[in-house]
Every structure is written in structure tokens, then in C-alpha cells.
């Protein structure tokens, strides 16, 4: 596809960055909203005069709309700038910077992406060290053996009279603990090595499913087709799902996501999204579906279509009535714990306490490098009403990177973290445990 054939995509992306609705831009440049929709879907060429008018309305150069000064670089440069002291960074000129120095903007964006990836790895490793039950037990076993060996060896080394039966007992203890230490160390190394592999059978089924979905970009073409019978066959061929449990779990989610796709067909849904902007509640009304279904669909859109619609890659968290996270789709800059619960301040949990009430909350992640997001959450029964069981609830939260037009102006952002352990917010009333970030600061 030529550069100019993506002009519509760039116009849409720039419009969204400006917080304008499609109909607003159409009015500003004197075309109909439906014609603007065709342009933004790259289905109509843009005349030079109209391009000039659109560029003027969006306050960008025409080159920015026709040349490959990729919007990803703008977003990357903006994200990098937000990590620094914003007083010294002129955010308003990020478009100009990207246009004038596309090579440097690319370097900056890629560096930013790399930093975010590394931070996420550190976060996950720390979370794992803290909450992984196998790792905790293995380390405890090794420390116990080390303690015994050190203490016993010190007794034998200190000299003094030690009765022969005590000496024999201590030698035997050291031998046994040395063996135990060696076995424990080997088991631990094997466990950590295996965890580095793509799949090992040691991961929990949910982790396997999430990792598998992540590698698929959280979307499979088969989801857009109505054939449910194809799903089990598809899953049998996925070697990455190493256990029956993970395949069962994956099937449950795929069936649900396929139902979402059936209720919200891709093209009409993208068109509606383009027309109404980021308004999940209006989309739910328009398609006559529950809000949580729209939230899931938005998080699981095919990446290319989402990008073409200038809809950012969004995160998704789903929890059951106990607060246990049952599905996580990570999004850059928004930490999600691998084990244990999330931040108690997440709207996900607010929704859990008020079933049926939708929440739209601007968020800022904690720390000096905090990022802006908007969370949409709703909790709803996940099963039909029954006289025999209490309501089985499920809460769903969509996490969208900052879209200025999505939240009424003046609504302050709620500062949240991923988990208490890696959150530096010192005066948080919801803190469960001290933060390692503060302890070592």
C-alpha cells in the first residue's frame, strides 16, 4: 500500500489526537460526515484543496498527512516526553519534532517501547518473586538448608569438646542438608529455566491462555466467523496450550469472544466507533448488547482494524466475584500483577461493589513516569438467576490509553498502581503491604 493511500488513516489518527469527532471535522472543512468517513477509511482520494483544508483544521502540515511521519512515532515521542519533567518538554511541538526529525523520532519511540517492555519484565519478575507459591516454597527450603549447614558447620569449626555422638549427628545433618540444598538449587534452576521457555507445562492454565492470546494479538480470524465447531479443532493444534486445563479455559474464552464478535460484527462496529468516538455506553445501546460485551470487543479488535480506526491498543481486566483476576490483557504503561489481586483502587473493584453501574474514570499510573488512561468498568451477573446459588458476578474493565475527548474536562485522574508491592504511592489508604520502591528509595 502506498504512503498516500494511508492518508485517510493519518487524518483519522490526527483527528483523534485533537479530540475532534468525525462530524466536527467534516463540518469544519465543508464535506458531509459520510464522505469524511469514506476518506478516513481510505475509500476516497483526497483532493489537494481538501487536504489543505483538513491540514489547516487539524493544525498540522499537509506533509504530516501524506508522508510517512508515522503516528506511532508521535505517540512514542509523546510517551517519552510524559516520562520526563513536562515543564521542560514542549509537548505541543511533538508533531513538529516528528515531522522535522523522523529518524530521531523513530529512535525515541523505539527506545520508549524498549523501556516500557523492560519495566514490565521487572514488574513481572518482582511480582513473581513475591507471590509465586512454588518460588516462595523453593527459596524457603533453600534458606532453611543453608541455615542448618551454616549453623552446624560453625559448631564443628568452633572447636571445644563435642561428644562423639553429637559430632556424628552433626556430620550426618550437614551431609543431608547439603544434598537437600543441591537438589533444591537444581530444582529451582530448572524451574526458572523452564519459565523462560515459551511453554513448559509449569505455568498455570490461565497464564498459558493469556500468553497464547497475547502472541495472537488477542484476536483470531476464526472469531469473526460463526462456526463454533471450528474452535476445539483449532485449539487441539495449539502446542503452546500444554494441558487439558489450559485448552478448556481457552475454549471458554474463545466461545465468549466469538459471541461478542457475532453480536458486534466487525465492519458495522468499526463504523459506529468512528462515528460515535470512544463511547462504549452508546455503542452498547446502538447494538443492543450489554456494556461488558462492548468493552471486551474493544479490547479484542484485530490490531490492523483498530489501528486504522485510530483506536489505541487497550488493556482488559476481568475478575470474578472474589476479585480474582480471570483474564488480563496488558497494555503499555499500565501494570497488571501476575499473581494476587490488582490495585484496590481500580474501577474494576468499584464496579464489583455496584453491579450494573457503569464507571468511567480517568486514571494516572503512580510514579514520576505515570501515564494517563481512561478506565471503563461494569459488573454484571455472569450466569442466569438461580434460587439455588448467589449471583455469580463478573467485573470487566477496559483500560484505554489517554484519549482527551473520552472524559469530560475537569474530571481529575485517580492515581492507581498495579500492585501495592510495586506502587510508590506512599499515602494510599488502600495499601496492603509496603512498597519495595519506597523501602529502597
Amino acid at each position: 500500500m502506498s504512503k498516500s493511500s494511508l492518508t485517510g488513516t493519518r487524518i483519522r489518527a490526527r483527528r483523534n489526537l485533537r479530540g475532534l469527532r468525525q462530524s466536527d471535522l467534516a463540518q469544519m472543512v465543508g464535506v458531509s460526515p459520510s464522505y469524511m468517513n469514506l476518506i478516513e477509511h481510505n475509500r476516497r482520494r483526497v483532493s489537494p484543496a481538501l487536504l489543505q483544508a483538513i491540514a489547516h483544521a487539524l493544525d498540522v502540515s499537509e506533509d504530516a498527512l501524506v508522508e510517512d511521519s508515522d503516528i506511532r512515532f508521535v505517540e512514542g515521542a509523546r510517551a517519552a516526553a510524559l516520562r520526563t519533567d513536562t515543564d521542560i518538554v514542549d509537548l505541543e511541538r511533538v508533531d513538529e519534532f516528528t515531522g522535522r526529525f523522523p529518524g530521531w523520532a523513530k529512535v525515541l519511540a523505539e527506545t520508549q517501547a524498549r523501556v516500557e517492555t523492560l519495566e514490565r519484565v521487572v514488574d513481572q519478575l518482582n511480582d513473581r518473586m513475591t507471590h509465586d507459591p512454588y518460588l516462595g516454597a523453593a527459596l524457603h527450603e533453600i534458606i532453611s538448608a543453608v541455615t542448618s549447614v551454616q549453623s552446624t558447620a560453625a559448631i564443628l569449626n568452633d572447636g571445644g569438646d563435642i561428644a562423639p555422638e553429637w559430632q556424628a549427628r552433626f556430620h550426618k545433618n550437614i551431609l543431608n542438608d547439603s544434598k537437600r540444598l543441591a537438589e533444591g538449587a537444581v530444582a529451582l534452576v530448572n524451574y526458572l529455566d523452564a519459565a523462560d521457555d515459551t511453554e513448559s507445562g509449569l505455568a498455570a492454565p490461565q497464564e498459558e491462555v493469556e500468553a497464547w492470546l497475547a502472541r495472537k494479538g488477542f484476536h483470531l480470524a476464526v472469531l469473526e466467523a460463526p462456526d463454533r465447531a471450528a474452535l476445539p479443532q483449532l485449539l487441539r493444534a495449539q502446542v503452546e496450550l500444554s494441558s487439558d486445563a489450559s485448552r478448556v479455559l481457552a475454549l471458554q474464552w474463545l466461545v465468549r469472544l466469538q459471541e461478542d464478535a457475532r453480536a458486534l460484527p466487525l465492519d458495522p462496529f468499526l463504523d459506529a466507533l468512528a462515528e460515535q468516538g470512544m463511547a462504549p455506553d452508546l455503542l452498547a445501546v446502538r447494538f443492543n448488547v450489554p456494556l461488558q460485551q462492548v468493552l471486551r470487543r474493544l479490547a479484542m479488535l484485530p490490531a490492523d482494524d483498530a489501528r486504522a480506526s485510530a483506536f489505541p491498543v487497550a488493556g482488559l481486566v476481568v475478575c470474578d466475584g472474589s476479585g480474582t483476576l480471570v483474564l488480563r490483557r496488558a497494555v503499555d504503561g499500565f501494570p497488571m500483577p501476575r499473581f494476587g489481586g490488582g490495585c484496590p483502587l481500580w474501577p474494576l473493584y468499584q464496579a464489583l461493589h455496584s453491579p450494573g453501574r457503569p464507571f468511567r474514570v480517568p486514571l494516572r499510573t503512580d510514579g514520576r513516569m505515570g501515564r494517563q488512561f481512561v478506565a471503563y468498568a461494569i459488573c454484571a451477573p455472569d450466569t442466569p438467576p438461580s434460587f439455588d446459588y448467589p449471583p455469580i458476578l463478573q467485573s470487566t474493565m477496559l483500560v484505554v490509553p489517554e484519549m482527551p475527548q473520552a472524559v469530560p474536562q475537569g474530571q481529575p485522574a485517580l492515581v492507581v498502581g498495579g500492585s501495592c508491592r510495586t506502587c510508590a504511592q506512599t499515602d494510599c489508604p488502600a495499601r496492603r503491604e509496603p512498597s519495595i520502591l519506597v523501602a529502597f528509595a
Binding site: V146, T147, S148, I155, D158, N176
Partner: protein
């Protein structure tokens, strides 16, 4: 009269080493791995010093400490808590519950002897 230390520790080789170094320093040492049974024994036959492991099967050292501090008989009993978990949160929780000393594993034998001696008083 010989002062008595009770060691509540589920790792037999660790409790054996502690028992030896304290006996060699003139203490009478009893050892148990059963934390739940220890709670009753502590109230009927309180030792001069209690050495308490944090992670025990069936009950945590925190639970035992809490029970001790709630009973007038054992409210002021010197307690040395040993743990493989050296996290600040555990230390803070132990202090909050009224621990006398907190020591992480692996420990130096001399440090254990000195702590017990100091806690038992003259």
C-alpha cells in the same frame, strides 16, 4: 536454677543446632515442631525465652505471638522470632504484635546466644 529456652521450629536440623549451642552455654533447651501444641504448653509451663520460627506447619509464628501477648501469663515473655522471610513487612508485623527480637535466617550462632542471653536478663 538453670534457665529454660523453648525452641518452636519445624526444621529438625536447625533446632538441633540451636539446642546444642544454647546447652553448651548453660541453658536448658526444649524443642518442638508443633506450633499449635506449643501455645498450650507456653501458658502452663512458660520458658524464660521463646525462640519462635515464623513459618510453621498449620499455624504461623504471628498467630502464636498474638496468642501469647493476649494472655497475662505470657504477655511479657521474651520472644526471639526467626524467619527465612526478611521482608520489611514481616518485621513490621512482628514488631506490631510485640516481638522482642527479630532475626533472619541464616543466622550466626553467636548472635542467637547473645540475643537469648540479653532477653533473659540477669
Amino acid at each position: 536454677m538453670e534457665k529454660r529456652v523453648l525452641v518452636v521450629e519445624d526444621e529438625p536440623n536447625i533446632s538441633e543446632a540451636i539446642r546444642f549451642i544454647l546447652m553448651r552455654n548453660g541453658w536448658h533447651v526444649d524443642v518442638t515442631a508443633d506450633g499449635i501444641a506449643a501455645i498450650g504448653d507456653l501458658q502452663t509451663n512458660p520458658p524464660d525465652v521463646l525462640i519462635l520460627d515464623l513459618m510453621l506447619p498449620g499455624v504461623s509464628g504471628f498467630d502464636i505471638l498474638k496468642a501469647l501477648r493476649a494472655d497475662p501469663v505470657t504477655q511479657t515473655m521474651p520472644v526471639l522470632m526467626l524467619t527465612a522471610k526478611g521482608q520489611a513487612a514481616d518485621r513490621e508485623e512482628a514488631v506490631r504484635l510485640g516481638v522482642t527480637r527479630f532475626m533472619t535466617k541464616p543466622f550466626a550462632n553467636a548472635d542467637v546466644v547473645a540475643a537469648v542471653r540479653e532477653m533473659a536478663g540477669p
